[in-house]
């Protein structure tokens, strides 16, 4: 089976709207996300969202256009970070693994964990 067919089929089945841009996420950050999960200010250090106890915290963060967000998994269970429009999609993040994505355009971006869809979060890009 050809991979291109497969990806197309899955993309359609998954979100209906997934395009080739869906995997344009930044490469996985090395496990160097050491700063605390503080940043809710747009001008603070690179904002980090922690997945812990089956929740994304902070659940909503505001950043400036061009900034990146890093998600880090602190649970014993893997989590993913999947945009509801197909803009970004991490692979499974095992304990202490992280994923980053840069937001270039202002807007409100919703995402969820595909393994635990009740885990949801929002990035507001100003």
């Amino acid at each position: 089976m050809r991979r291109s067919h497969l990806l197309t089929a899955i993309g359609l089945a998954l979100l209906g709207a997934a395009s080739s841009g869906a995997v344009s996420a930044q490469p996985l950050a090395a496990a160097g996300a050491t700063s605390p999960p503080a940043a809710t200010r747009a001008d603070a250090a690179p904002p980090i969202v922690i997945a812990k106890d089956f929740m994304f915290a902070p659940g909503t963060i505001a950043i400036k256009a061009g900034a990146s967000v890093t998600w880090k998994n602190s649970d014993d269970e893997p989590h993913t970070v999947v945009s509801d429009t197909g803009l970004f999609r991490s692979g499974a993040l095992d304990t202490n693994e992280s994923f980053s994505f840069r937001f270039d355009k202002p807007g409100t971006y919703h995402y969820a964990c595909s393994i635990h869809p009740r885990m949801v979060g929002t990035i507001v890009v100003q």
């Binding site: 089976m1 991979r3 067919h5 497969l6 990806l7 089929a9 899955i10 089945a13 998954l14 995997v23 996420a25 106890d53 089956f54 649970d75 014993d76 269970e77 893997p78 993913t80 509801d84 999609r89 991490s90 692979g91 499974a92 095992d94 304990t95 919703h110 995402y111 969820a112 595909s114 393994i115 635990h116 869809p117 009740r118 949801v120």
Partner: protein, 313 residues
């Protein structure tokens, strides 16, 4: 390969199965569920013999790649589960794996799982994906390996020994904030697949996430499953098999029996206990009793299915 596995007698095998306190054998007669403990079945081998040869064995949630405290050696517990199946006095022809074959959808995890499962004496294995099998960024690993039976949709049906089997996928079209989803395309496919089938045909439906709502706050259910049930209700014997929650939960509704299997890897908490549906750490000597497999046999005079759960204890 099968020659390496010592064949044990029925009585000793059933005793082995019955060792876990939670091991229970269910015989379905005319839609009425009659539970008997496996210890009792072992004491009455003729009663157990009437259940006949296992039609298939269900294995679930093997989570190859998991290495946390709740079970640092999931390869060993899957191997013990395979030994348990291979030691059944009458071999099932078929294995159904209800998903979460791997923990992180990594190629190496799928490879190792395939290598381990190839030791099963049963010649046929059918699978459906769990959400852990479709968590790679491109959602391609599972279907590249198991998509052939279904034209890469993941869902498919087949007939075996007069029973119609339907494998469904409820982990792909996830809804943020919601439960598992089958989706309109799959539901339409099921309607077409079941159309024209006699109501007396026994039906087995298998999918990873429970096809009834066990606990909504943890997503333990499938949002559009009621539309599936509408299509199944006219059949005289329907068995719905799921995994996902790593523990046995059962329900009977009319002619439909719902059953979730244990994991071979690690237990999860009962619904709503603790912060979420993560790995449950238990004392090492407790673990085998919380892991296991499910065996299903046809009860000949009623053409319905009997399910038996066996733990690794």
């Amino acid at each position: 390969m099968p020659d390496e596995i010592p064949v044990v007698g029925r009585r000793s095998a059933l005793k082995c199965l019955g060792f876990g306190a939670a091991g229970t054998l269910f015989a379905l007669a005319g839609g009425v569920l009659t539970p008997t403990s496996l210890a009792a079945a072992a004491a009455d081998p003729r009663g157990a013999a009437r259940l006949g040869k296992p039609l298939f064995v269900q294995i679930s949630d093997t989570h190859i790649g998991f290495n946390k405290e709740a079970n640092p050696d999931v390869v060993a517990t899957l191997s013990r589960s395979i030994d348990l199946v291979n030691s059944l006095p009458q071999q099932p022809e078929m294995i159904i794996h209800t998903g979460d074959i791997t923990h992180l959808s990594k190629p190496a995890e799928f490879d190792l799982a395939a290598q381990l499962l190839s030791r099963l004496r049963a010649t046929e294995m059918h699978t459906v994906p769990g959400e852990h099998d479709t968590s790679d960024a491109t959602v391609s690993e599972y279907l590249s390996r198991f998509g052939k039976a279904s034209d890469n949709r993941g869902y498919y049906s087949f007939d075996h020994a007069g029973v119609h089997f339907v494998g469904l996928v409820n982990v792909l079209e996830f809804k943020p904030g919601g439960l598992g989803t089958l989706g309109p395309a799959q539901l339409a496919w099921v309607a077409d697949d079941l159309k024209g089938r006699s109501a007396s045909t026994p039906i087995v439906v298998f999918a990873h996430m429970p096809l009834w709502t066990i606990y909504e706050p943890w997503g333990w259910g499938t949002g559009d499953a009621p539309q599936l049930m509408d299509q199944l209700r006219r059949f005289g014997s329907v068995t719905v098999l799921n995994g996902h929650i790593h523990q046995i939960v059962q329900k009977v509704e009319g002619n439909v029996t719902f059953h979730t299997a244990r994991s071979t890897a690690y237990p999860q908490p009962a619904a709503g206990v603790g912060t979420g549906p993560g790995p449950l750490k238990v004392a090492a000597d407790q673990l085998p009793g919380m892991l296991g497999i499910t065996s299903a046999s046809v009860v000949k005079h009623t053409r319905s299915l009997a399910l038996a759960d066996a733990s690794l204890a």
